[in-house]
């Protein structure tokens, strides 16, 4: 019956030529999740993984009251969800909306149900059976040293690209917006106050501190508006993209070097509350308001000419939406942190599979928030100046020529409503998501507060992007220190200050470089960085699925190995195709070498305007670098896959393989 229900809903929603109501998308999504959770995930738990409730979990066997603690499943679910759901599922769908609402929505649903949730669940299970070992350790134990190293290097690279692109999203949201900049800047001292409060004044009183912090954050949205209306103060916060990028780089370095309690830990609490609160509020608003989707189901940009990022529907929609459908990053949370809290293996079904479905639902809401905008407005906000032109009038003419109605006056009115000077070419997805959210909130809870809602949404996105930026830089630093520790013992000590400063500087320089290039690139940077991030993230997912597949084959569950092998095969297909196109395509908006050659030719022939001549050599160098980076990613991926295939064939022929690293059975006493 559930199948019939969702089939009917999907049919209604997807087959009509006219605009549809967002509620249909939500209903279809919820039905699909419910069926997949009830049947597919239950089947995986019972038949493929053979979850054993009588087996003691690491949390029970190694209980130390600190990191290994048997915890209530709802609490673990909360922690796990808060950890996996970052800004990714908000940004990806917004960008992919250039293809229309249908391709992205289908991929979010199918990808999550058959890929992402399976990856999270199997990784969580295998890590739980191995005392909460990390993905890298499992890859080394089960596949071999090459797989382990690949996972480690992959994680570090993805972190650097991810931080750069997220930094770019924040920069584009704050560019020439004193209100947004002031509000985002205020989150730093607020986090510090809360950090000091939780460490020294009232240690560990998390709820009190968070309540104060959230109130201060909301106040900062109002204060930002006041600053924006104050002629002397507003110039202090009105900056170019490049100066904001430098500020973020400096901030990232400071955050990585400062003690965690001062900035990172309190910011993390605040961002978690803001995230949960806003997502729930958005869901309620969509249900109350039942907004119409204005974006067509499929646009002409499936042919690869899209303004937001170049490339055809296949494979780029699958690369653009990583988080929300399948995200390799989750495998790092599912191994390591979460398994140490599980009280029973039974909970793996809900936490591994269920939390990913919820994240996928967040992605669906982001897709709705992007597609309820008039398509003309959506493209005006998200198309970089390099594609549609710097002047408003050119941009509007170009967008009209694509068949999407928008006028300069309409955009000006919208900017005024949102309390911004202009909304043209605000790439990165955050501003258009904020406009979408503000219009949904505004319609549901009062229209006169549009500007406040807009800046609230920007603050909400910025706060957890900055949390990811802090946390990512720090993790990168630890990983680098770990690697350097192999050469020099002192450098490997996480509290040795010169090493802390050196490694932090290296990591910040890594992402700072990509952020800098992203800002000076007239095509918006997002066009380059987001696909690179997607490829890296999917590569990590493929590594996680390789580990899972090889364990399944090694433990005699060959006939069920397709459960992880199927999404793996799909990921390998899309990442390899995307990487191939990014390297070899003749289209200058897709191929890195093509873009570099085109720019060099223009530089030589002197057809570039003066401001572009200055940055052209850097852009050319960067395009080459990106091409080699992509080659590196694909090579790493294929090395791991061949390694896995070797292990699997050896296991099937009962040849010599690494033994399974599963911990022996102990009966639970809980």
């Amino acid at each position: 019956m559930a199948l019939l229900g969702s089939g009917a809903l999907a049919g209604i929603a997807f087959n009509r030529g006219e605009s549809i109501n967002a509620l249909w998308l939500i209903t279809a999504a919820v039905c699909i999740y419910a069926i997949a959770y009830r049947f597919y995930a239950t089947w995986i738990a019972a038949k493929v993984l053979v979850i054993d409730e009588t087996r003691a979990t690491p949390a029970e066997r190694l209980d130390n009251g600190r990191d290994f603690i048997p915890t209530n499943k709802w609490v673990v679910f909360g922690h796990h969800f808060a950890a996996i759901a970052g800004p990714g599922p908000l940004v990806g769908p917004t960008l992919a909306a250039q293809f229309g609402y249908l391709p992205g929505t289908l991929w979010i649903l199918i990808g999550a149900v058959l890929g992402g949730a399976v990856q999270d669940m199997t990784t969580l299970f295998f890590s739980t059976r191995r005392n909460g070992r990390s993905l890298g350790q499992m890859a080394r134990d089960e596949i071999g040293a090459i797989g382990g190293t690949a996972a480690l290097v992959g994680t570090l690279m993805i972190m650097i690209i991810l931080i750069a692109v997220l930094g770019l999203v924040v920069v584009n949201a704050m560019k020439h917006s004193p209100w947004a900049t002031a509000t985002v800047a205020a989150t730093i001292p607020i986090a510090m106050i809360i950090g000091f409060y939780m460490r020294n004044i009232r240690p560990g009183r998390v709820l009190e501190a968070s309540f104060i912090g959230v109130s201060l954050l909301l106040l900062s949205v109002f204060a930002g508006g006041w600053i924006d209306h104050n002629a002397t103060l507003r110039v202090l916060f009105d900056h170019e993209g490049l100066s904001l990028a430098y500020a973020i780089i400096a901030y990232g370095f400071a955050a990585a070097v400062l003690p965690v309690w001062l900035l990172l830990a309190p910011r993390d609490y605040l961002s978690t509350y803001m995230k949960l609160g806003t997502v729930i509020l958005l869901a309620i608003a969509i249900v109350i308001l039942r907004p119409q989707i204005h974006m067509p189901a499929i646009t002409q940009f499936t042919d690869g000419t899209g303004p937001i990022f170049g490339g055809k529907l296949f494979p780029f929609v699958f690369i653009t939406i990583a988080c929300g459908a399948i995200s390799g990053f989750h495998a790092l949370i599912s191994s390591g942190t979460t398994p140490k809290l599980l009280a029973s293996e039974r909970d793996i079904h809900m936490i591994g599979y269920g939390a990913m479905l919820l994240e996928s639902f967040v992605a669906i809401m982001a897709m709705i928030a992007a597609t309820v905008l008039e398509p003309g407005v959506f493209f005006a906000i998200n198309s970089p100046a390099g594609v549609v032109g710097k002047e408003a009038i050119d941009a509007v003419a170009k967008i009209n020529s694509w068949g999407f109605a928008v006028t300069v006056e309409q955009m000006q009115q919208l900017a005024n409503d949102m309390g911004e000077s202009s909304l043209f070419a605000r790439t990165g997805g955050a501003p258009s998501l904020a406009v979408g959210m503000a219009s949904i909130f505004g319609n549901a809870f009062g229209k006169n507060l549009l500007a406040l809602w807009y800046h609230f949404a920007i603050m909400f996105e910025a706060i957890f992007i900055l949390t990811t930026l802090d946390a990512g830089t720090r993790v990168g630093r630890f990983m680098l220190q770990d690697m350097l520790g192999n050469f020099n013992k002192k450098l490997g000590e996480t509290s040795y200050m010169p090493s802390v400063i050196l490694t932090s500087a290296i990591v910040v320089a890594g992402w700072g470089y990509f952020l800098y290039i992203g800002v000076i690139d007239p095509n918006g940077g997002v066009n380059i960085l987001w696909p690179l991030f997607g490829i890296a993230n999917q590569m990590l997912a493929a590594i996680a699925l390789c580990v899972a597949t090889s364990i399944l084959v090694k433990t005699g569950k060959r006939k069920y190995a397709w459960v992880t092998a199927l999404p793996l095969a799909w990921l390998v297909t899309i990442t390899t195709t995307a990487a191939w196109q990014k390297i070899f395509s003749d289209d200058i908006r897709v191929g890195f070498f093509a873009a570099a050659n085109d720019l060099s030719a223009k530089l030589v022939s002197g057809t570039l305007p003066a401001d572009k001549v200055a940055v052209a050599p850097q852009l050319i160098f960067n395009q080459h670098l990106d091409a080699y980076l992509t080659m590196f990613f694909v090579t790493v991926l294929w090395v791991v896959i061949l390694d896995m295939l070797y292990v699997c064939t050896a296991a099937m022929r009962s040849g010599p393989i690494l033994p399974s690293s599963e911990v022996a059975y102990v009966k639970t006493a809980l």
Partner: protein, 74 residues
């Protein structure tokens, strides 16, 4: 009648308690209390045991330990 009301009230109070305890546990607000409980249970019978950490020391230790691995995703 009055007894019925009293019962409902008690039930509501119980529900609120469950909810509030859940929120506290989810946010980590009660981490120190749980640590003390764990410490008392597991080290009750052992001799020369380390005394339990102070609230401040525990919070500091937890914060430093918690942020060593990957804790936040994209």
């Amino acid at each position: 009648m009055l007894k019925q009301h009293y019962k409902t009230l008690k039930k509501l109070k119980h529900l609120w308690h469950c909810f509030w305890n859940g929120v506290r546990q989810l946010s980590g607000d009660d981490a120190y209390e749980r640590y003390l409980k764990h410490h008392a249970e597991f080290h009750a019978n052992s001799v020369d045991v380390m005394p339990a950490l102070s609230r401040k020391a525990f919070v500091a230790l937890m914060q430093d330990e918690n942020w060593k691995g990957v804790k936040r995703c994209c």
